[in-house]
Amino acid sequence: MREILQVVTFYVLAGITISSALVVVTGKNLFRNGLSLSLFFLSVAGIYFLLNAEFIGVAQIFVYIGGIIVLLLFGIMLTAHIADPTVKQTNEQKGIASLTGIILVCLLVFVLTSTFFPVVKHIPHQVSTSILAKIIFTDYVFILGLIFLLFLVGIIGALILTKEDGSTGSPS
């Protein structure tokens, strides 16, 4: 029973993920693409829950849907003419790009399925959040500090890029 449920859940989530990603890259209406991207993030969070990564799934929902989608939708509404149906959304490289994508996916799937990975037979029953916290704050605390620095630099950079005084490059 559990096996059947796992298989069905995986295929449903994979179907929703792939179809919403296709809507994002081929849709004409930008706002619909943004909302389809939020459905994509939600189904990817579902896949994380299926892979015993509950903390990452919840972090995905918070950061991506709660932060990045809001930013993207604000960006779409402030900069694009989404109600204009005559604006072409794709450039002239559609043929080569789709050929590249199809060749790349065939190559990746062929290489990945013909590689032997030492898969563990027995998955231990564990809560991922406590193990994650124990590792991040002891073994990977240096990288955590670098992420803090990255956030600081990102905030300062975003503030400087959106300054309105007409001389965004010169130091004051």
């Binding site: 990603a21 890259v25 892979l51 790009a97 898969v119 998955i123 990288i143 990102g154």
Partner: protein, 102 residues
């Protein structure tokens, strides 16, 4: 029974959908959305490897957490960039934001 290879195939398909979107779209925000799709596909890959090969050591999940943080900062900075481009060129279509002579 869902094995590691199912998740790797899903990740490869999503990555190629992201690549197609990043190479094809004209609007800069659509390109940003395709890049987010690519980053999420890599995250699925990492967490699948972490769960199937070393389930007691969650290094893949740590890596994924950092990629999520980096993607958030990158989205904010790229949107600032897009606003600056919009202010200069009055469009966000990247083939029109062109100051080159030829």
């Amino acid at each position: 029974m869902i094995s590691l290879y199912h998740y790797l195939t899903l990740s490869a398909i999503l990555f190629c959908i992201g690549i197609y979107g990043a190479l094809t779209r004209r609007n800069a925000i659509s390109i940003l959305m395709s890049i987010e799709i690519m980053l999420n596909s890599v995250n699925i890959n990492l967490i699948a490897f972490s769960r199937f090969i070393t389930p007691a050591i969650v290094t893949g999940q740590v890596f994924t957490l950092f990629i999520i943080a980096i993607a958030a900062v990158e989205a904010a900075v790229v949107l600032g960039l897009i606003f600056a481009i919009y202010r200069s060129f009055d469009t966000v279509e990247i083939d029109k934001a062109n100051l080159m002579k030829w």
